[in-house]
């Protein structure tokens, strides 16, 4: 245990940072999706009255 702790820590940090980065990409993607839906809604609302 004591001998592998550094190894585990280093690989843990690697995967943690990778997943945080990928998660941030997914998060940004989600918020963009919301924006797209909002924009679609707006476009539809504007199209209707005409």
């Amino acid at each position: 245990m004591g001998d592998t702790v550094y190894l585990a820590a280093a690989y843990g940090v690697f995967w943690l940072v990778s997943f945080i980065f990928i998660y941030s990409l997914v998060g940004r993607q989600r918020s963009l999706q919301k924006d797209v839906e909002l924009l679609e809604q707006l476009a539809q609302d504007e199209a209707r009255p005409e």
Partner: protein
């Protein structure tokens, strides 16, 4: 994945539709497999380094594979960013700005792991968390340089100015990296006494013989990380393109 559906709706221009199988999915699965294989090779398949006797040091040596892989990915990302910046200033196409920004962001994420894993490796090997070893120092300076890049972009509202200033800064930062490298190396070799633990032997301390299997593992890691970089770039670029389109649409719809 719902997010992917949006992407493929929006990105008609990408080659995804033609083959029926999206490039993104292929890249993601390939790099996932490669990274897991690299992990297996680094942790289990690769033999112990023969000349390291202390168990802690022997295990810690395996940090090296992903450490070098990340460093390779980081430098590749920064080189791509510098080239994309030049191309942006020459052609003024948005595409290259998107490339530069995406590449810097990815490079920065992996340089963070390079610095932290290097520091973790230094503890059992040199018995300190941090030495002013040239490689650690230059990695940290690179990290700081490109944090500056993101901060600069973050402080500018005008997108065109963001792209221009970002490109100019990325280029100058790129010039300073090799000079930094030279300066830090000379600094150390001329004045080894500045560093307390392990003086002249410091560079060789913790080094190990590279047997064939170790080399194979390292090579495999570098390839896996390259594919990983391409995958991340692909997704990050798509995201940024989508982001910019949404921003333009928003402005068109909301501020008429």
């Amino acid at each position: 994945m719902a997010s992917k559906a949006v992407l493929s709706q929006q990105e008609k221009s990408t080659a995804s539709a033609a083959s029926g199988l999206s490039w993104g999915a292929v890249l993601t699965v390939t790099s996932g497999i490669l990274m897991l294989a690299a992990l297996y090779m680094a942790l289990i398949w690769a033999p112990d380094a023969t000349n390291l006797t202390a168990p802690a040091e022997r295990y810690a040596q395996r940090i090296f594979y992903f450490h070098v892989g990340s460093a390779w990915l980081g430098f590749l990302a920064f080189i791509v960013a510098a080239v994309a910046s030049i191309l942006y200033l020459v052609t003024r196409r948005d595409k290259w700005d998107i490339w530069a920004l995406s590449s810097v962001e990815i490079g920065l994420a992996f340089f963070t792991t390079v610095i932290i894993s290097g520091s973790i490796w230094a503890k059992p090997t040199w018995n300190v968390w941090w030495t002013w070893d040239p490689r650690l120092t230059i990695s940290t300076i690179c990290w700081l340089l490109y944090v500056g890049y993101l901060m600069l972009r973050g402080a500018i509202d005008n997108p065109d100015r963001q792209a221009r200033f970002g490109a100019v800064y990325a280029l100058l930062a790129g010039f300073s990296v090799p000079l930094n490298w030279m300066a830090i190396r000379w600094w150390r070799t001329i004045h080894p006494a500045v560093i307390a633990p392990g003086n002249n032997a410091d560079e060789s301390m913790g080094s190990f013989g590279m047997s064939a299997n170790i080399q194979t593992t390292l090579l495999f890691c570098v390839i896996a990380f390259t594919v990983f970089y391409i995958t991340l770039m692909y997704h990050r670029i798509n995201l940024e393109q989508l982001q910019r389109r949404v921003d333009t649409l928003k402005q068109r719809l909301l501020y008429r």
